[in-house]
Each structure stands twice: as C-alpha cells, then as structure tokens.
C-alpha cells in the first residue's frame, strides 16, 4: 500500500543555510505521526517544505501518488491538505465565523454547514464566540480556531505545527483529545510537530526525532517514549 505522504531525501535551505538534510519520512492513511525535536531542529521547516514554502531543493515529496515537490503552495493546499501553522496566525480583525469561512472558501466549498457543524461539535467554545473578533479570543480559543479553520476544507491530511505553544496544560489536553477524536471518528491523518514530546508521543501512532535537520530516530510512540536517550533529551524535568 502506498503511503498518503512520503518524503525521500528532502533538503531545504534558507539562503545558504541548510535547514533539512535529506529527510525520509512516510505518513500512512489514518495515522497520527509526530515529529519531535529541539528548537531549530527543522520541524517547522519540514512542515513548510511539504507545503512548498520554502521549496525542497533536492528529494521528492509524493502525496497520494503524485509528485508535488515543485508545485506552488496554493495548489498543494487545495489537495485536501490543511495546515494549522505555528503561532496560530488567525485573522485578528475578522470574526470567528469569517475565519472559519476563509478555511472553506478557497478549497472551493460553498456549502459550509457540514464543516461548521463538525468544528462546533469538536470545539463548542467556538460556537459561543462565533460573532467575536479573532483577536479577542484567548490563546487556547485561538488555537482551536486555527485548527477549526484548517478543518473547514475537509482535509484528508492535517498538518499541525505546535498546537500546544503557550497554552495551559489543561487546554493542551483538550486540544490533543480533539485531535485523537477526529482521527478515530473520521480517519483523519495527522502530522503533528511538537515540543511537548511526552504528550505528542502518547497521542501518536508513530514518531520521528529530528536533530539538526536530519531524522535520527523513528518508531512507534510507545517505543520512542521508552528509549532512554529520548527520555534524557526531551522528557527531563517530568511530564505534563
């Protein structure tokens, strides 16, 4: 069975600086795959490279059997791939409703009721805040909105970049719970980038560890959690 998304030997540069050094990674349909690593390891770059910005210099990115390495970003994002980018990046002056519509419109979905229903079932808090401006939401609500906006295009692959960034542990648990529910009920495939290694590895089926732009370890979530070097590098200081 061919993977939903596979990367082979992908490299990426910011100017002269190499950020990714030959990444091999696969995501199967229906999986939650997490990517953990220290600051500056290249996790977010890898996410952005999948979306074509920055573009991979070498290697190949294949989505559903189609080589999308050289595709422009907006066309990649219309292949039912959605991203909730790092730092949420919601539209501050627009209402929650408008933010969500932005997620659907570009994907060419004119009927948004299903999408809205799904998002509101997942995050009831957003329904209460539907007419409120995005910028006035709390951090957790903004993250819910960012994920909800990504879900509005009814993606088959969801790229989540650090959804736990700057959120209280309780809210993180809530959001991770929502991701697990989505994966179980709709079979949504998720590629998750996280600093919060413990939570992420517990949630994910499989994980990759990224160090200095290369993948140094791979395995199931439980396997990686049990490895002593992982515990030493990413889980010191107890878990939350």
């Amino acid at each position: 069975m061919s993977a939903l998304l596979s990367l082979t030997g992908v490299t990426a540069f910011y100017g002269a600086i190499q950020a990714l050094r030959g990444i091999d990674l696969t995501v199967e349909k229906g999986e939650i795959v997490t990517l953990i690593g220290a600051n500056g390891a290249g996790k977010s770059t890898l996410m952005m490279t999948i979306c074509g910005s920055p573009r991979a210099r070498d290697g190949q990115i294949v989505h559903e059997g189609q080589d999308i390495t050289a595709w422009p970003t907006h066309l990649i994002m219309r292949r039912r791939i959605a991203q909730a980018p790092e730092g949420r990046r919601i539209f501050n002056r627009m209402t929650v409703h408008e933010n969500l519509l932005m997620g659907a419109e570009v994907a060419g979905r004119t009927d948004t009721t299903d999408g809205l229903d799904q998002v509101f079932t997942l995050f009831p808090r957003l329904k209460e805040r539907i007419g409120q401006r995005g910028g006035t939401l709390s951090g957790g609500e903004q993250q819910m909105l960012a994920i909800g906006r990504a879900l509005m295009s009814r993606p088959t692959l969801l790229l989540l970049d650090e959804p736990s960034l700057g959120l209280a542990p309780l809210v993180v648990r809530q959001i991770f719970g929502a991701i697990r529910d989505l994966n179980r009920t709709t079979g949504l495939t998720v590629l998750l980038v996280e600093q919060n290694a413990y939570q992420a590895l517990r949630l994910a089926h499989r994980g990759y560890v990224l160090v200095n732009g290369s993948i140094t370890m791979a395995g199931t979530g439980a396997e990686l959690l049990a490895r002593p070097e992982i515990r030493a590098a990413y889980l010191e200081g107890g878990h939350t």
């Binding site: 979306c51 910005s53 422009p72 970003t73 907006h74 066309l75 990649i76 994002m77 219309r78 959605a82 991203q83 909730a84 980018p85 990046r89 919601i90 539209f91 501050n92 002056r93 627009m94 209402t95 409703h97 408008e98 519509l101 932005m102 997620g103 419109e105 570009v106 994907a107 509101f120 079932t121 009831p124 808090r125 329904k127 209460e128 539907i130 007419g131 906006r149 990504a150 295009s153």
Partner: protein
Amino acid sequence: MTALRDAFLSALVALGLFAPLVGLVTTSGEHGLYLELRPIATAVVVGLVFLGRLIVLSRRSRGRAASLAAKPALAERISKAGKYVTPLLLIAAVALPFTGSRYYIDLGTLVLTYIMLGWGLNIVVGLAGLLDLGYVAFYAVGAYSFALLATNFGLGFWTCLPLAGIFAAFAGVMLGFPVLRLRGDYLAIVTLAFGEIIRVVLINWVSLTNGPNGITGIPRPTLFGLALSMDGGPGTIAGFFNVEPAVIQRIIFLYYVILGLALLTNWVSLRLRRMPLGRAWEALREDEVACRSLGINVRNTKLTAFGIGAIFGGFAGAFFATRQAFISPESFTFIESATVLAIVVLGGLGSQLGVALAAIVMVGGLETLRDFLSFLGDQMNSPLFSGIASELPLYRMLIFGLALVVMMVLRPRGLVSGRTPSVALHKVKDIAPDLVAQGRG
C-alpha cells in the same frame, strides 16, 4: 502650581515660535524692504496659547477618570449614529444641486471626486493592506486614456469610460507584478516611484501627450446621445427638454455623473467585500502566511486588488478629464496621492463611510476654512490687527494641519475605526455550552 508653570513654558515656546512668524513683517517702502514689528499681535497669540494650555491641564486633572468611563459609550454612540449618517449623506448629496449655487455644486463635484478616489484606494490600502503611494498614476492613466481616445479618434465619454478603466487596470497589474514580494515600507517606495514614472513619462512623451502643455478640447459627456452645448439645437440636452441652455446645466449634469460613478464604486466594493475575493483581501491584510496555508493564491489576490483599485482610479481620471476639458501632467503630482491616502487613513482603513466623511472634511473643510478666514479677516478692521487680517486665509494650511494632528491623536485608528463583519449572523443569541455539547443550539 505645576499647571501654571507648564502653561508658562508652553507660552515661552509659543513666543519663540511666533515671534518671527507673527511678530515680524516685511513691508516695501520707498527705499526697499522695511521690517515692521507687531508686538501686540504676538502677545495675543502667546496669551491664547497660555490660556489654552491652562484650560487643557485643568480639564485633564479633573475629568480623566470620567472620560475613560465615557469612552465605550461614545464609541457605541458613533456606531449607532453611523446608521443614520449614511442615508442623510446620500440625501444631502442628491439634493445638493437644488441649492442652485454653482459654487456649492462645484465644491460638491470636487469632494465626490475625492470620495471616489478614496473608495478606489480603499480597496488596495484598506482591504488588501497594500500601502500604495502612487495611486495618482491610475488617475492619470484614466484621464489620459480618455483624453487621447476622445481627441484622436472622436470617441465619446461613455465609450471611453470602460476603456479608461481597462487601461488603468492594466497599469495596476503592471505595477503589481514587480511588487508582489514587497511589503510595507518597501512596497510604498516602489508605488511612489511608479506614480512619478507615469508623470515623468507624460511630461516627456511629447509626441503622444503633448508634454507639459497638456491636452485641450476634451469633449463633455452626453446624456443618452444628447450633447451638452450652448446652441440649444435639436441634438442637445437643452433642445430636447426645450429649456434655455445654461452653464449651470452642465455643472449639475457633471455633478450627477460623478455621484453615480462614486456610488458605483461604493456598491462594487461593498459587494466584493462580501464575496470570497473580498474576504481573501482582508485575510491577506491580516496575515499572508496564514493565507498561503489556506490555499489562497496570494499573487492573483494581490494583482486583482491592484487591478480593481486602479479601475476606479481610471474612471475618476476620465471624469476629471471630461470635467476640466483640459489636462496636463501638473494635475497628477504626488500631493494628489498623498491627499487620497490621507483621506483613506483619516477615515479609517477599510471603512466606506469613514472615507466619505474624511473626504468631506479634508476637501470641503479646507475650502470652508478658507472662506471663514477671509470672512473673519474682513471683520477685523481695527488697527490692532493691521497686517494680519488680510493674510489670515494664508494660515489655513497651518490650522488644517493642526486639526489633522489633533484628529489623529483623538481617534488614532481613523474617524470610523470599527470593522463590520462581512457575514452577518441572522440571529445573535447566547447559546449555553451544555446545549452545544449535545449538538443542539
């Protein structure tokens, strides 16, 4: 005590500032120029500053807490008043020609031209967030397209109007391509340069544009084929309606043409805002990276913003040409771009009503101020003010600039700063969280 000292210091600054500005005046006598001193006038100005500062300080110490509490109420009142202001303005605009005063109709036409330009630029700056300092370029392209088509090929205003829009849109897209990757200050500089390039080309391409001498004999618009002319023949408006031809008819007709064009601009931008394209523009203004991640084609979205904004600049330019019957590159200097941008910023980025109000204040207000100051100068015939009274109108730019600064301090986000959501909810009700969790609500 501190208030007194503060006011005294302000008065001192004012003395330093106004002693040369107001206190000294040169008069030409029999042996050349003489310097004349005006101590009394200077004292009056400095005294006013002293008193003004005292009043401001005493008010501030008294009413700070109270004014803070009153602020949300004020904002609410403004947004409520907005509902009535729009129809009132519209009625006033339609009714203006019935005053029959040529002066007011001319002023109204000027204000409406700037409102239309403001609404056009609002698409680029207010909605899409692309800071454009060269909007006058599209105004110029529209004006010259119409003027050249009309004088060389004998085409009429209504035929040329869409063509002028197309040419301007083309110029907008031409500008858009090189600046796609630029943002903020850098974008502003390139657009500024673009505006200048167009003007310099118009000056130097003498064989086509007649250079600095401009183009004369640009035809007036017609009303369903009826010409505006003074001979009152069968093919003219006056002849058709069987009335005496008069200049005022042309003025009124042009006024309604620009009113129609401005309303068209408003209607189109309001409709666009509710469409996915308009929402994409607003999203672009908020966050370009997020837009990319949602699959928005950032390039095309920016280009359409430049293009559509330019179309209305082009329409306004064509109207300007037909109204003046003469155009030259002098009419398309940077100060025009700056005025239009000031109107958009002062009105509140993205607000249609704000732009209209700001144009009325900036263009109409300046004219009214000039009138008022000359009137005031005529009244001041005591020898005390000798020399000041006659030049009072010259101070209008100073006063106006001061008023703009005060306005931006009081309302930093523009006259009408709130953003109306582009999707209105039919029913706004609070839904209990437990109901939502059960999937109802």
